[in-house]
């Protein structure tokens, strides 16, 4: 019953999305206030409710362990903890695609409530969002249905991939999809604006909150993914330029460029075409990310579907979105209007430069990610593009971005003027901590790039501090206060990330050793002694938990687990966190020694100041939502005082 009802609800959501597209289109053509526009809004709510109910039914099927549903059988097991039964609903391709569609529908309904102010513009945006929903719901209904059945049903499920049975990874996909799919609203608004021949400034005003919300969510999703990779995969890396990581990083870079260029467009009318183009491109790259993850064209720890047929579907959706979006842009870009001019030392100029650098970085990442695919398509031998390329090509661009970022908030709009800005920044004062940070890193033998990164991180943090000190007291409204705080937090967050990354790049070499009980290793000035290894089985896994006593009195407990239903071993890292960094320990197999004792493979590492990465990401997310709050407050004020 659940499975068939769920399947029908997905069919209903598809048809409702189609109705949303068609009825809103007619409604927009009639001025945006006709019964057709209203029916389009109702269809949008119907799509949201039916897909939400379908998603709830899928979760219910997981809780009941109904293995007559192929997706449940492939991703669950009756002994799995309830929490992971629920999160498995989006742990595989089909379920995560349902979540993707649900979020699309959520944003579609959101557009009907708080979309562009002008009714026809709003109805057109709702219609285009309906088009995107229709594409994805059709893909879900016909090629990725999570309610496909198995007859006869297996007695037991194959369990969810054990590395996905983790709290961070339970939250990571919804946040990531809020980001990816949130950019669809910016796409729909931009495309609708082009169709309606709306001015660039109005389009920017309409899409800014959506872009901000999506970008902040994407930041949170990527950060959680990096954190998960750091402690779950057992190698201590948090970013590896993996193709799937890149697939999320490209829309993030373009999203960062978009939220800044939209400010310049809304406030000064600058870069209207560029802002609209970024809004279109960011979403197209989000679909490209979905293609990379779900088509099987790349090999990655993150890729969770290996199905070329589905890849063709997604490629089709990518094609439709790209052709529709960029086609419209080519035809209607002239209607966006031209902005006022600006001086090279104006804020617009710095935002423009940062935009170019961020877009170039996204281009570099795109080339590095797709190059192996093209080489193979052209019959060449398989190649892989790894960290050396990305570090060499993308890092200099990001370094330049970081160099310019703290200066921009101090520059005046339009006419510009570097002198007053530099006076405000008290540049000499800022350079003191920068020099200290660089000196300290050189003292500890850090690589050149880490020294540069660390110094730039401190530069960004110092700039953000000066920014909030200067601008917050001058902010007269709550909206301006939120905006100033958001900007400073986000910029400081970038600084923390740069400093954390620089410190982590300077970490001491890892220590690998086989330890029996009572034996010790030394790392980063601490002695770690293996005191015991005991069984710590869970409901769906067997585990050996080691206890290592640290010389400062702490204990660290890494585990080695065997998930019997999935027939897979995992390493659960033990972390000893302090203000100086993380002691990071993983345990491997036991090997018997000649004297009959068992020695365990222990890998220990020290990650200095790694907490700064988490703090930095959190500040960026908070900054994004603070800026979003400022947008909402401003919008309310406009509604009250038109």
């Amino acid at each position: 019953m659940i499975a068939e009802l769920g399947r029908f609800l997905i069919a209903l959501a598809l048809i409702a999305s189609l109705a949303q597209m068609a009825l809103s289109w007619v409604g927009a053509s009639q001025g945006g206030r006709s019964p057709y526009a209203l029916a389009g809004r109702t269809a949008s709510l119907a799509a949201l409710l039916t897909s939400a109910l379908g998603f709830a039914l899928l979760i219910a099927a997981f809780i009941q362990s109904d293995f007559s549903i192929a997706y449940v059988a492939g991703h669950s097991h009756v002994d799995k903890p309830l929490f992971y039964k629920v999160t498995a609903a989006w742990g595989g391709h089909e379920g995560s695609m349902l979540l993707w569609c649900l979020i699309l529908a959520l944003f579609g309904y959101g557009l009907t409530r708080v979309g562009p102010a002008e009714p026809a513009f709003r109805a057109r945006a709702v219609s285009l969002q309906g088009l995107l929903q229709t594409l994805f719901f059709a893909f879900l209904a016909f090629a990725s249905n999570p309610f496909d059945r198995l007859d006869p049903a297996p007695l037991q499920g194959r369990d969810l991939n054990p590395i996905l049975q983790d709290p961070a990874l339970a939250i990571h996909p919804p946040l990531l999809y809020l980001g990816y799919v949130g950019l669809s609203a910016a796409f729909a608004i931009a495309a609708a604006g082009l169709i309606q021949k709306t001015s660039g400034r109005d389009i920017a005003r309409a899409l800014r909150p959506w872009a901000l919300g999506a970008w902040a969510s994407l930041t949170a999703g990527i950060s959680l993914g990096a954190w998960w990779a750091y402690y779950e995969l057992g190698w201590g890396g948090w970013w590896f330029w993996d193709p799937v990581e890149n697939a999320s990083f490209m829309p993030w870079l373009l999203g960062a460029a978009l939220v800044h260029s939209a400010i310049a467009t809304e406030k000064r009318g600058a870069f209207p075409g560029w802002t609209v183009f970024l809004a279109l491109l960011a979403y197209v790259l989000s679909i490209l990310g979905a293609f990379l993850v779900r088509s099987g064209v790349i090999t990655s720890v993150h890729a969770f579907a290996l199905d070329p047929e589905r890849g063709v579907w997604i490629l089709g959706m990518l094609g439709v979105s790209a052709v529709a979006g960029f086609g419209l842009f080519a035809v209607r870009a002239g209607s966006l209007g031209e902005g006022d001019g600006f001086e090279p030392t104006s804020r617009e100029a710095f935002i423009g430069a940062n935009n170019l650098l961020l877009a170039a970085a996204a281009g570099v990442v795109l080339v590095g990610t797709l190059y192996p695919l093209f080489v193979e398509m052209l019959g060449g031998a398989p190649v892989s593009v790894g960290p050396p390329y990305f570090d060499a090509a993308a890092t200099p661009l990001l370094v330049l971005t970081l160099l310019l970022m703290p200066v921009a908030p101090f520059l005046p709009w339009s006419n510009g003027g570097a002198k007053p800005a530099l006076e405000q920044m008290r540049a000499a004062l800022l350079l003191v901590p920068v020099a200290l940070a660089g000196g300290a890193l050189i003292w500890f033998g850090a690589p050149v790039l880490a020294v540069v990164g660390g110094a730039l991180g401190v530069w960004a943090m110092a700039g953000a501090t000066m920014d909030i000190i200067t601008s917050y007291p001058l902010a007269q409204t709550r909206a301006l206060k939120f905006a100033a705080a958001g900007r400073a937090m986000a910029h400081a967050g970038v600084g923390f990330i740069a400093l954390g990354a620089a410190a982590d790049a300077s970490r001491p070499p890892d220590v690998n050793s086989a330890l029996a009980r009572g034996e010790s290793i030394r790392i980063a000035g601490s002695t770690l002694t293996l005191t015991e290894v005991r069984r710590a089985d869970g409901p769906n896994y067997l585990a050996d938990r080691a206890t290592l006593a640290v010389s400062d009195g702490r204990t660290i407990s890494p585990e080695r687990r065997f998930y019997w239903a999935a027939d897979q071993h995992t390493r659960e890292v033990g972390l000893g966190s302090s203000i100086t960094g993380d002691l990071y320990v993983s345990i491997g197999e036991a090997r018997p020694r000649e004297d009959g004792s068992a020695a365990y493979e222990i890998r220990a590492a020290f990650h200095p100041l790694v907490w700064m990465l988490g703090l930095g990401a959190s500040l960026i997310v908070l900054g994004g939502f603070s800026a979003l709050t400022a947008q909402v407050l401003t919008r309310r004020r406009r509604e009250v005082q038109p």
Partner: protein, 318 residues
């Protein structure tokens, strides 16, 4: 099926009517009302069509609770292996402290080669209630997991099993194997002879252990590698080398005539050299020194049979 059909029909028509309702309300003419009705019909029929493209309305859901109840209603002997495992797991899930269920599931998994999980189940069983048979099975699962090596952990399980019930053949056999692997032939003989002596004469395990013990204990210690390479003469023939080995064994026995395993090696080497009388004499010497130890007697009987050294009957002599 009927309930599902009714719900689907109600949902489809309801949602279609809801979406089309603004059109119907705002309709100023019959044509507009017709449009509203058309939209509603298209939505309802469209949703049904999409559903039927892959839907299986006749296939009921199968929550695990139903599967569990179905398996519980079938006699165990009528269940397939997979179903038996599920049923055992269901019992363990319901009664996590049931030592019999844990042990049965552990044995099932060990039989299926899933040793890691089997060990966990057997360990849980003995933690609830110590049982010699389960401890022995635990030891064997540990040995199998370690590709035949009797690890210290397996040794502890076997020792605990023997302490509870020394009539079990497997723990003693594996303890003997561990001693043999460690080079302690005397201890291996004690374990194997001990269990062979305790088992009834018609027990098939007794015969199997005796045959294996006779084979292992009569092999020259360390094999050909045991011959000191410094004293190897490249021109020496294999026969001469074996004769030298026999001489070495005889000299050793002269110094320590109570070394039963060395008598067994000597018997085997002489049998290989076709010195049947000499081989019989070596076994007889070992038998005499073992006294009335039934276990050692069984092993020596097995050695005799393996080398074709049984006393010849009169009929055969003719």
């Amino acid at each position: 099926m009927i309930a599902l059909t009714l719900i689907i029909a109600a949902l489809g028509v309801g949602v279609a009517m809801w979406i089309a309702s603004p059109l119907a309300k705002g309709a100023g003419s019959p044509v507009h009302r017709l449009v509203a009705f058309g939209v509603m019909a298209v939505l309802a029929v469209g949703a049904l069509g999409v559903y039927l493209a892959g839907g299986q309305p006749g296939l009921p859901g199968q929550p695990y609770a139903d599967t569990e109840a179905r398996l519980a209603a079938i006699a165990p002997e009528d269940l397939t292996g997979e179903e038996q495992e599920e049923r055992l797991r269901a019992i363990v899930r319901r009664e996590p402290g049931n030592p019999e269920a844990l042990a049965m599931l552990g044995r099932f998994l060990a039989f299926d080669g899933r040793y890691l999980e089997a060990i966990a189940m057997l360990e849980r069983s003995v933690r609830v209630q110590e049982d010699a048979r389960v401890l022995s099975d635990l030891g064997q699962a540990l040995v199998n997991l370690n590709e035949g090596t009797v690890t210290p952990e397996a040794g502890r399980a076997f020792a605990a099993a023997m302490e509870l019930d020394d009539s079990l053949p497997e723990p003693a056999f594996f303890m003997g194997a561990a001693a043999y692997d460690a080079g302690d032939r005397e201890a291996a003989l004690q374990y194997w002879a001990g269990i062979a002596g305790r088992l009834p004469a018609d027990d098939p395990f007794r015969q199997a252990i005796a045959v294996r013990a006779a084979d292992l204990l009569s092999r020259p210690a360390g094999g050909p590698q045991a011959i000191d390479p410094d004293v190897l003469d490249p021109d020496e023939s294999p026969e001469a080398m074996v004769s030298r080995m026999v001489a070495g064994l005889e000299a050793g026995l002269e110094a320590d005539p109570g070394d039963l395993t060395r008598w067994m090696v000597l018997a085997r080497v002489r049998a290989v050299l076709e010195d049947r009388e000499g081989a019989r004499a070596a076994i007889a010497e070992a038998r005499a020194r073992a006294g009335d130890d039934a276990g050692i007697g069984a092993i020596l009987d097995a050695l005799e049979r393996a080398g074709g050294l049984e006393p010849e009957t009169e009929g055969e002599e003719e």
